[in-house]
Amino acid sequence: MAWDESQPMVSINDVHKSFGELKVLNGVSFDVMKREVICIIGPSGSGKSTLIRCVNALNTIDKGSITVQGQEVHDPKLDKLELRKKVGMVFQQYNLFPHKTALENVMMAPTHVLKQDKAEVEERAYKLIKKVRLDGKERSYPGELSGGQQQRVAIARSLAMNPDVMLFDEVTAALDPETVKEVLVTIQELAEDGMTCMLVTHEMGFARELADHIYFTDRGIIVEHGPPVTFFTDAKDPRTKEFLSQIL
C-alpha cells in the first residue's frame, strides 16, 4: 500500500497506554498532514510526552494504532530503525553526545546509520549548523555550549537524517527565557520550510503563532482541539478554560 501526500503523514487512532495501574493515554486520535505543524498542550502528566514518544516507538502502546506514512508503528514486526530514520526527535534535555563535538554530533547518525559518504555528510553538517545559526561552534563540545546552543545542535543533529516528521518534546522547558527564543526561531524557520512538526510545548504564544492545529490533552484524552484562533479565544471545555486562564 503506497502512501501519498493526500493521506495523513501521522495518523493516531484510539491509542491507549498505561504504565502499570496508571492510565496515561485513554483513546487519543488525530491526524497530522504533511507540512502541518501541530502543538499538543496540557497540564503535566496529561500524557503529552508519552503520546509523542509513541510516534517513533520509544514507547509502546497497549491498544489502537499509530501510522507514519501509512506504516503501522504498533506492529511488532516493524523495523524500528527504518521508522526512526523518517522521524526525528528532539528532547527536553538535549541529550547531545558529550564526547563528540557539535559537528560530530550532527555527522554521526548519517555516516554510521545511513552509511552516507563522510565528506558529503560533513558538508551538509556545516550547512545545518549554519542554518541553526551556530557557525563557528562546529568544534565545540556540548559542555562548552549554552543550553540554547545545545538544543539547536540537537535540532541540526535530527535534521541531518533528513526526516519527514520532527517531534519536539518540550524542547524549551529546560531553557531560560532568553535562550528560549533562539530555539523557537529555529523551529519556526523549520516549519516555514515545510517540515511536518509535532510539538509538545508550554509556549502558548509560540503555539498560537506557529501551529496549524492545537490539541489540548488532559488525563489521557484530547479534551479540545482546533486552529489557534478559535482555540485560544473561544475555548468551550471548562478544563481548557481553566488551563488557559492559568497560563495566559
Binding site: N56, L58, L81, E82, R84, K85, V87, G88, M89, F91, Q93, N95, L96, F97, P98, H99, M108, A109, H112, V113, G143, A154, R157, S158, M161
Partner: protein
C-alpha cells in the same frame, strides 16, 4: 478486607519532634558549637616529623647492630639478600600484570553480557559474576592451582604448566568478576537520555553501545580499574602459600638459609612491606587524582 495497621506518617500524623532524640540532639548541637569555636583536632604533621622518626629508627638499628657484637647484623644480612627478594617481587609484578590483563578482557566480556537484552545471557553472566565476586580469593586460588594439571600433553609434546601461570588464572577470576561489575555499573550510570537520543537517531543497539555508551564509560572505568589493580598487586603474595617463587617465598627461603634467626623477621618483612608500599602507593595517589579529574561534571 484486613484492617490496615496504623502506620506513623501514613495513616496517622507523624510527631515531628521525637522527644527521645532531644537530649542527643542537644549534645550534637553543643559539640558542633564548641567545634566551631575551638576548631577541630588536627595532627598537622610536617615532613620533618617523618625525618625525625626515621632518624630515631636508624639510631635504634645502630644500637641493635652494635649490641650484636661479632655476629653479622640482621640488616646487613638483608642487604645481601636484597636482589633475591626483589627478584621474587618481580614475579609478583608479572603475575599482577598478566592476571589484570586476563581479568580485564574476561571482565569486559562478562560485563557487557550483563547488560544484554537477552535474559539467558544476562542471567548467566550475572550468576558467574556474583559467584566469583563473593568467593574468597584464597579459595579460588587453591581451587585453580590444585585442579589444573601441572602439565598437558598435546600430541607427543608435553607442555608443563608452571605454578605461577596457574596463579595468574586464579587471580584473574575475582578480578574478572569485579571488573564485570565495574563495566555494568559504568554502562547503567550513563543517563537514559543518551540511549533515547541514539535510539531515535536510528542507531542499532550494538552501535549505541559501541559508539555512544562505551566511549563515555571509558573514563569512568579507569579509576576503579586502577583501584582493582592495586588490590590485586597487594594480593599476589597469597600465592606464596602454594609455593610460587615470589617475594614472600623468597623471603622465607632467605631466612631459612640464615638459620631462621628471629632477629631477621623485622628487617625482612619490613623490606617486603616497603617495596609493596613504594609500588602501590603512587598508583593509589594517581587513581585519586584521576578520579578527581574524571568526576562527573553536571
Amino acid at each position: 478486607m484486613k484492617r490496615c495497621r496504623m502506620l506513623t506518617g501514613v495513616n496517622t500524623t507523624a510527631p515531628t519532634r521525637l522527644p527521645v532524640l532531644l537530649p542527643s540532639a542537644a549534645a550534637t548541637i553543643g559539640a558542633a558549637r564548641r567545634e566551631r569555636h575551638e576548631g577541630t583536632f588536627r595532627l598537622n604533621l610536617k615532613l620533618w616529623h617523618g625525618g625525625a622518626l626515621l632518624l630515631l629508627l636508624l639510631i635504634f638499628l645502630g644500637v641493635a647492630e652494635a649490641a650484636n657484637g661479632t655476629r653479622e647484623g640482621p640488616w646487613a644480612i638483608l642487604w645481601r639478600w636484597k636482589w633475591f627478594v626483589l627478584q621474587g617481587f618481580g614475579l609478583n609484578l608479572l603475575i599482577s600484570f598478566l592476571a589484570m590483563a586476563l581479568g580485564t578482557v574476561a571482565g569486559a566480556v562478562l560485563g557487557l553480557m550483563q547488560v544484554s537484552l537477552l535474559a539467558p545471557v544476562r542471567t548467566s553472566s550475572w550468576v558467574v559474576t556474583q559467584f566469583f565476586r563473593n568467593s574468597p580469593w584464597l579459595v579460588l586460588l587453591f581451587t585453580v592451582m590444585l585442579l589444573l594439571p601441572f602439565e598437558i600433553e598435546i600430541g607427543d609434546t608435553v607442555f608443563p604448566i608452571p605454578d605461577w601461570t596457574k596463579a595468574v588464572i586464579g587471580f584473574s577470576l575475582p578480578i574478572m568478576a569485579n571488573l564485570s561489575e565495574v563495566v555494568r555499573g559504568a554502562v547503567i550510570s550513563i543517563p537514559s537520555g543518551q540511549w533515547e537520543s541514539s535510539e531515535s537517531l536510528a542507531f542499532s543497539r550494538r552501535q549505541t553501545i559501541w559508539m555512544i555508551i562505551l566511549p563515555q564509560c571509558f573514563k569512568r572505568m579507569i579509576p576503579p580499574w586502577m583501584n582493582w589493580y592495586c588490590i590485586l598487586a597487594m594480593a599476589t603474595p597469597l600465592c606464596s602459600i602454594m609455593g610460587v617463587e615470589e617475594s614472600v617465598t623468597h623471603v622465607s627461603q632467605a631466612m631459612a638459609a640464615e638459620d631462621n634467626r628471629p632477629d631477621l623477621l623485622t628487617p625482612f618483612y619490613s623490606f617486603l612491606l616497603l617495596i609493596h608500599f613504594v609500588y602501590t602507593y603512587p598508583i593509589a595517589r594517581w587513581t585519586i587524582s584521576l578520579e578527581r579529574k574524571f568526576a562527573v561534571k553536571l
